[in-house]
Amino acid sequence: MNSNFLRNDMVLMAVFTLVVLTMPIWLAPIGAGYPDLLQKIAIYGIFAIGFNILFGLTGYLSFGHAAFLGVGSYAAVWTFKLFSMNVVPAILFGVIVAGLFALFIGYVSLRRSGIYFSILTLAFAQMSYNLAYSVLTPITNGETGLQLSQGDARVLDHALGIAQSGLPTPSFFGMEILGWSGFYVCAVALIIAFFFALRIFRSPFGMALKAIKSNQNRMNYTGFNTRPYTLAAFVVSGMYAGLAGSLLAVTDPLAGAERMQWTASGEVVLMTILGGAGTLLGPLLGAGIIKYFENIFSAYNERVLHDVFSGLPNGLEQIVVSFTSLFVGEGWQLTLGMLFMLVVIFLPGGVMEGFRRLTKLFRRDGPQSPAGAAQPAE
């Protein structure tokens, strides 16, 4: 298989690493170069990449992936509370718990496929949300959200004599995870997560998953037991979600039930489809676009718009501002919805298909797609 890990992929990994680590520089001109948004892009990128392993490769559409994200968050915060403020155990614990949870839900849900599978996962996620929101309040602290407090046990930290005055912050062996350091932790996790996704895409395991997507019945008729494969994909994808969830807790030690809401599950589906399901880079792009809209467009208010359009004549400025203000601020979801419709109607393969068409346009003679281009599943 090593021979199969082509030169192209090496280049892809190198470019990817570089691009991710320099995000603070090249995203700054469009107002996105600040740690919180970059962390969110990296974290939801991981989430979407993991989701894509299930949806993009096997075609199983899970509508309940936010449950694993939430479980990962809760597990990580509890690790902070009970054991140590170090991020490594928190991330490990978050990933493992989410994986176990995915094993259970996957085992039950994967007995069905198609819409029934989607409904089952949706039901499980909604159940988890309601449990976290009210029934399991002692564990999750309900709507208020699970937070750190000064009276937490933190057995390991106390045993090692690491004492902090005031409310502790998560740390990576002494380095505080705040702002930019938080982003770099997420960025490294993203690069590793992307690397594993790449290997899965290129492996025989990934090939089997793609075969399941194209025709599961035929696979079964040839005597190939698909269950272990779909279940493995489900668990891996759940662990990615757990990683994303624990990173959310690492960058901001708080876990709330709203992370498990069905809208959050829907969001990752949107991210994947917007970017391009079944492609390697698509989900990450989708996550970036959605998070950018959520954070930047929602912050525009009329005052900002007046500044932007101040060059226009007075009457026209009023009209333009009152019209565009529908699409920013509270209306950012309207813009996102329109963008989503446009993409789905004209570029069913997502943003990645747009890129592919563009590169084709510019290199009519060279049919070979460049290293960074899409890797369709089928």
Partner: protein, 446 residues
């Protein structure tokens, strides 16, 4: 699968190591360490200072959020010396000069908390990291306020809480960097108790419907303690999810519970819905145990009264401030708010406006924006002329102590805004408590 395991070879391992090495080597000049000598978003070298207004623009508390934002914008105007000055005319003592704060023009950025802790923290982070906000204020949910307050503590940014009524905000979850002007559930209970005794007697059976988060929990607890001290019996306490919309499934059981008082620990759209439905179910006209059935809404606001329409007539509750107050400060604020927007401000607007002025004034008195000095200036600050009479910002828990209004839904409103009638103005001494009863620790500054 075999290939998958062998594929993590020496080369890829090297690459991963190199990648992590790169990160570890990344100088930490970007992180908070660089701010340590100074402080976050120090505006010394800038001509303006930016405040962050983080309010719910969507969700169950969106109406309050919109009104809060109006008040903030008005406060910024007054601080910069535009408009008629509002409460700057009445505030005593006053250090502000109407030329911004410490000579710097006040600017602001806004954000949507969506009434969710996650979104609120994310939005607050954006304001601090991207927009350079030096102070965050707002919130119309205690869950959000508590979450944003602890974030501000971590980032070293002062948080001036908006409408948050939970005991936890300045109790169990109080923070050195967090300040609250609004009253809390304990004070509501203390103010409401004597009035309830007078109006409904000592032999009552109460049924609680409670919003299921920090504010609902503490209010339920405070009201329960008060009413049980009067001799009332608590039949049941039922938790309802925030933003439930339909409360009929929670109200039906009340009818057969034998309770003769319904206490709605709801706020915003939740309260509008639950109260309207309770009235539709005929609870208000019911006779139980030989007594008239009563509904109590411990935390009342004019905005909610407007939403609930006729249902609020005769309902008792408490409020932090009401526009009908006749003191000079309230009148000045109502006048300039009315001129700007065409209707009177809500209590949410009032507290947010006052908080902004108090922060600005504290900076002016401290002579710096350095948070630790501003905190010192706010702690144990006594002021008057802000609409609630003489007020103390207690240093032990960063809670304001002032009089509390017990109000009743007006039976014969003279205008569409004249919805609440003040039954009693309970003086600050009657609602003051020992700061240690709720536990919690302020933590440190710097």
């Amino acid at each position: 699968m075999k290939d998958l395991t062998t594929s993590v070879n020496r080369r890829s391992l090297l690459k991963a190591t190199a990648a992590s090495g790169l990160v570890l080597a990344t100088p930490t000049i970007f992180s908070r360490g660089a701010w340590a000598q100074n402080f976050a978003n120090d505006p010394t070298n800038k001509s303006s200072v930016t405040l962050g207004f983080n309010v719910p623009q969507t969700g169950a508390y969106a109406d309050e959020g919109a009104d809060e934002l109006r008040a903030y914008q008005l406060a910024v105007k007054h601080l910069n010396g535009e408009g008629d000055g509002g409460m700057l005319q009445t505030m005593k003592p006053l250090a502000l000069k109407g030329n911004g704060v410490l000579g710097k023009k006040v600017e602001y950025v806004t954000g949507d908390t969506q009434t969710k802790s996650d979104a609120a923290r994310s939005s607050a982070k954006r304001m601090v990291e991207k927009d350079g906000a030096i102070m965050i204020t707002g919130g119309s949910s205690s869950g959000v306020a508590v979450a944003v307050q602890s974030l501000c503590q971590e980032m070293g940014i002062i948080f001036m809480a908006g409408l948050t009524h939970s005991n936890d905000t300045t109790g169990k979850d109080k923070r050195k960097y967090g300040f609250r002007h609004f009253f809390n559930a304990y004070m509501s209970g203390a103010a409401l108790g004597p009035v309830l005794k007078e109006e409904m007697g000592t032999d009552r059976r109460a049924y609680h419907l409670t919003a299921d988060y920090t504010w609902g929990w503490t209010q339920e607890e405070s009201i329960k303690n008060t009413t049980e001290a009067l001799g009332w019996e608590t039949v049941a306490t039922v938790r309802t999810p925030l933003g439930a919309g339909d409360f009929s499934q929670y109200i039906t059981p009340v009818l057969n519970s034998g309770a003769d008082v319904l206490i709605l620990n709801h706020y915003g759209k939740d309260m509008v819905n639950s109260l309207t439905q309770a009235v539709q179910f005929g609870l208000k006209d019911k006779m139980v145990n030989g007594k008239k059935f009563e509904i109590i809404v411990p935390l009342f606001s004019r905005l909610m009264a407007q939403g609930a329409g006729d249902a609020i007539k005769g309902i008792l509750g408490t409020t932090n401030w009401n526009w009908s107050l006749q003191d000079a400060a309230s009148q000045a604020f109502v006048k300039s708010f009315g001129q700007e927007y065409g209707f009177p401000p809500s209590q949410a607007a009032h507290t947010c406006y006052v908080q902004t002025l108090l922060y600005a004034d504290a900076c002016e008195r401290a002579g710096t924006f350095y948070p630790c000095e501003v905190i010192k200036a706010l702690e144990d600050f006594e002021f008057d002329g802000m609409g609630n009479g003489p007020t103390l910002y207690r240093g032990a828990d960063h809670q304001c102590f002032k009089s509390v209004l017990v109000v009743r839904g007006n039976e014969n409103p003279s205008s569409q805004f004249d919805l609440l009638k003040v039954v009693k103005e309970v003086p600050a001494e009657a609602v003051t408590y020992d700061p240690t009863i709720f536990g919690g620790e302020l933590g440190t500054c710097g």
